[in-house]
Symmetry: C2
DNA sequence: TTTAGCATTGTCAAGTAGAGAGTGCTAAAA
DNA sequence: TTTTAGCACTCTCTACTTGACAATGCTAAA
């Protein structure tokens, strides 16, 4: 258990830290001598909460120190006037489309925090098929379109080996529509597999091929994850090692990696340094959100030395407003 | 007019240049003494084709030197076996969708050249409206969808102030469809303005509002420019000044700037350093392409010291294949 | 026109010195 | 027992120096 003074010292070091913090800079504020602070710092270091870069440097917080701070010391941080105003502008304007709110908020958070923001949205949640359509594009291809009742539209050009028959296409699409309009996106795969396929089976080979193409497309749609990113280049403000920057930027392009950002738990979750398997000097503050029509994760990615209190409060505000 | 030897020296310096090139490294190949080469280099420097980083350093090519090289010395560069193979894989496979070919080629060029590739595509070229559709999403909004005969699909959620009437929506959409199916994308604006609007004018106020919303959406679609980018992070391989990198990466995010990449002239065009108003150390090799269904520009962006011959040949190959 | 020789000029890497910041330890004071 | 003052010590950072090296320009001879 840390003493109140130890807590105060840890808090000050973390909130002040741009370069290593020495005992002198703290003792004035605490009203005791630098030697006393040095003692306390020594204790904190033995507990693994602080670190030194070399034997005679000031202290910097360790990952464990940040962890302690985030778990016990951090207090909600009031949003600045300016931030609040801009946020309200986004959310209070007359009912914007959801994706608009999201991308605008991301842009804003990235400016306010100098971090990179990634949002992963999954449309399948509470979306029902409103319509499927196919429009011939050439002799051998059609544009396939799926619309959900929440207004999400997905399309793909489906290419066939042989020449297509417009009437057959129409028949297949009508059939699919008949069975799956109103189906939740998550269940489309099953429904096509177990209810529509048996019917198709008895019809001609050609129609079956078409069905397969649509089936593949629809399955992709129901698994579809939209990715937004804002402030990608803010990483350059936080680090000055080009190699490190490159490594991190490359991860932003890596689909597999991005997918794994998806958050399981509820509420604000904070991953410090190595905890996020991202980079030892990078932290992630993320949260799940859930609206009718979409469910997803927003992740704020920045240097380990970030203003956790501010970032967390900001994210909470966004998620709360998104959810209503 | 440059002597053959001067040309040879300039060519060697440009094609060898990773760090400043000294006279000694060249004289062996040319079969004359280093002093002779120094004389020639001095002349080339007086012509403004070479530069020195300081008084006793080797020479590096100036922008003017690169210009001369590109205009007079450069020869088409055969593509490597490996590159050709991969390119053929992209283009010879059974009729992929155009956007697929483009994004795959971009990815490949960025790998082969270590440059950043941006493509600006404009769908409006030779695309005709195949269908317009509107699907109610909530009490006050509809998802509007436009499909062209070449398979491009665009959609937007249109939000109204008042509660919508599904039947009225349907009537408006039917009307729009009746008049503009088959219209080239470029002419949609005019057609709506001069042929459809007069009819609407006599109908109820409500329908007019709806028309306006669609009108705006359709105009946006016809001006729509798709942007693809690949190898964005390759910039980090070419420079090591974080500030410079940041400046360039920020430009990649700047919509206005990206739009201006659009190429007017035909064929391969090369902009060296400052010529591209991008950055004094950045060059751009770009070309227009034109297919049925889309017309656009592909730009290869890299350091001034790039392999112009290789990059230009590669781009030519891509554009030629895209156009057939 | 070309070459050899040489002084000159600048970069780069390694090493040195001094200032500064911060620590740990010890012994004295509260 | 806790806090403080004092001091030696350690390490970084910056500026400066030094020597090796690379390339140059110039001059005079081939």
């Amino acid at each position: 258990m840390l003493s109140e003074r130890q807590k105060a010292i840890l808090k000050m070091i973390i909130e002040d830290y741009t370069k290593p913090v020495g005992s002198k800079s703290i003792c004035d504020i605490l009203g005791c001598s630098s030697a006393t602070v040095r003692h306390e710092m020594n204790d904190l270091e033995e507990l693994g909460l602080l670190e030194k870069t070399h034997i005679s440097s000031g202290r910097i917080p360790s990952s464990k120190g940040y962890r302690y701070y985030v778990d016990h010391l951090m207090q909600p941080h009031d949003l600045s006037e300016e931030a609040l105003e801009k946020l309200e502008q986004i959310f209070k304007s007359n009912k914007p489309a959801l994706t608009d709110s999201i991308s605008k908020s991301l842009e804003l958070i990235s400016e306010l925090t100098n971090c990179t923001i990634i949002s992963l949205g999954n449309t399948s949640h509470e979306n029902f098929i409103a319509k499927v359509e196919a429009i011939p594009v050439s002799d051998t291809s059609v544009a396939a379109i799926v619309v959900t009742d929440k207004g999400h539209v997905e399309n793909r050009t489906v290419v066939f080996d042989e020449k297509i028959d417009i009437l057959e296409i129409k028949r297949t699409v009508d059939l699919i529509n008949k069975y799956i309009v109103g189906t939740p996106l998550e269940e489309v795969g099953d429904k096509l597999e177990f209810e529509v396929k048996p019917i198709i089976k008895e019809s001609i080979d050609y129609q079956k091929k078409m069905f397969d193409a649509f089936y593949e497309f629809m399955s992709d749609v129901s698994e579809n994850q939209s990715v937004h990113m804002a402030g990608r280049n803010n990483i350059l403000k936080s680090f000055d090692d080009v190699d490190k920057i490159k490594r991190i930027l490359d991860k932003f392009e890596d689909r597999e990696f991005i997918k794994n950002i998806k958050e399981k738990e509820n509420g604000i979750n904070i991953y410090i340094g190595g905890e996020s398997e991202f980079d030892p000097d990078v932290s992630i503050v993320k949260s799940k959100y859930r609206t009718n029509g979409e469910e997803g994760t927003i992740a704020i990615i920045g240097p380990k030395r970030m203003q956790y209190d501010r970032v967390a409060s900001l994210l909470k505000y966004i998620v709360d407003n998104l959810e209503e």
